[in-house]
Structure formats: C-alpha cells, structure tokens
Amino acid sequence: MARLNVNPTRMVMTTLKGRLKVAVKGHKLLKDKRDELMKNFIDLAKEIKILREEVEPMLEDVYGSFSVARAVIQPEILEEALMYPKQSVNLIAGEKNVMSVIVPEFDYELNSNDSSDVYPYGFATTSGELDKSIEKLSDLFPKLLKLSSMEKEAFLLADEIEKTRRRVNALEYVKIPDYQETIKYIRMKLDENDRDSQTRLMKVKDMMLEEERQKEIKQNREKMEEFEKRMKS
C-alpha cells in the first residue's frame, strides 16, 4: 500500500483520522447498497427471463398469423386496412426509485376501452385471419410493455451495481488501507520525535548537572585554598 505523501504532523493525523472514519462509514453504507441492489437485480433478472420466454413464442405466433393474413388478403388492401389506426396507445412514463436509482415505469392507456374495438378497418374486404392476429397482438401488448420497463430497469440497475461495486472495492482495498498506513506512519514518526526530544533533554540535563558540579568543586577548592592561606598567615 502506498503511503500518502503528507507531512507527519499531529494536525494532518487528526484530519486523516476523520477521513478514515468517513471512509469506513461510507464503505459500510455502499456495501449495504450494493447487496440490496444485487438482491433486487437478481429477482428482476429471473422475472425478465420468465417473461421473455413467455412473450417471444407469443410474438412468433402473431407473426405467423400475420403471414397467413398477408397470404389471404391482397397487399394493397392490407396496407389500406392498417393505414389509419383506430386504436392508439398513450404511454405514460413515470419514475420509480429503486435504492436511489431512478428507473422508468411505463403505464399505458388505450383510448378505447372496448377490446373488441381494436380493428381499424371494416370487415368487408379483409379476412378473419387478420382479425385474429390483431387480437393476439392486443393480448400480447401489455406484456411487451412490462417487459420493456423491466429490461430497462435491469440495465440501469446493472450499471449502478457496477459503479457501486467499484466504489466499495476502491474504499476497501485502496482508500482505507492507505489512510491506516499513513496514520500509522505519522504516529510512529511522532513517537520517534518524542523519544528524540526526551533523550535530548536528558542529555542536556546531565550536562547541566555536570557543569553545576564542576562549578561547586571549583568553588570548594577556592574556598579551601583561601582557608589554607589564612591559616598560614
């Protein structure tokens, strides 16, 4: 792990300790977020799989019956019959918040509620096959919309999970160890400085005591000499 390039001072250490605290807290929160997103996502993916496997054969069925209709009816008439749709779908795109990921939620309304009223043509020139295929498609349509919104949600969630996972990993394996290492380094450096000054002080104290002693000895000697002189005289 790389130690951060900072001055080993007490103030920097305090700042770093604060940052470490935030990082640890953030790591925990993000991890929770990731786990919850993952749970949602896995459920969603399973649902999508089931829905898709249901929708796709139905859609193929619709195509099949359209092919039949196409074979029975003349192309111009078919084109004309479907040219001006009677039914129209109003898609209402709402938003849903899944763990702070904004995902779309599609709701739709048909402007005619009568399900037998979906045919945009008169029945005179077209055949029953076309009616059947339109009917099948109208059954299928809500499922298709649901599938769309779920897939979009899955993509957005996947994106968010990836981002969150990266953040969690960056915090767990880079940021937090870096901070810890730097704090340790600063603490050791400060301790070292402490010991340094301690020994220096002790040394100085020794020196001062020694000096004092020498002075005293000198004084004593001088006094002694003076005393002896006086005795002689």
């Binding site: 799989k49 054969p57 195509y63 979906v118 349509f141 298709l144 996947a158 999970i161 996972r165």
Partner: protein, 106 residues
Amino acid sequence: MNKIGIIGDADSVIGFKAFGLDAFTCRTGNEASEILHSIIKEDYGIIFITEKLYKEIEDEVGRYEDLMIPAIVSIPGREGSQGTGLSNIKRAVEKAVGVDILFGDK
C-alpha cells in the same frame, strides 16, 4: 405523454401499426441506426427494434443505455427468436455480478 416506436422490416412491424405505434421500416443496419439517431431526441418512451437489426446496431444502442428514457428493447422479428433479448439480460447480469450466475445452464 410518450410515443412508442418500432424499427424493423416491413413484414414484422405492420401489425404494430394497427396499435398506433410509430413504425419505421428499414432493411439494413445503417438505415436502422440513422432512424434511431433521428428519433432518439423525440419523446419516445419505448423503441422496439427487431432482433436482426438490433444485433447490427448494438453499439449504437449501447450509447443510449444510460438514459432512463427511451427504453430500447429488442423483440424477435419475423425470422423468429435468436436469443438476443436473453443474451442482453445475460450481459447485464455479467456486468452487475461479474459472472453469469443465472443463465449458466445455457
């Protein structure tokens, strides 16, 4: 209020026309991507693309993956399902989890 669009070959999209979807017919991937780029700014909520074309313009579609709207969804075309839809989900799972843990049996 949003619209729904569908891009695909004429045979596949004709049925959807009856529902008031905006159908865009095209044959090649180039045409499809042109259409996609031109309609992406309009207020489409969902754009369906038939699988064959979707595969050809996958990279272009990927650019809009982060947008909340529109949802670009691949649906099987007249040729039948080629599994593009499921493989998209599979890719999303791989992106999120790291490995494919759901559809590994395929």
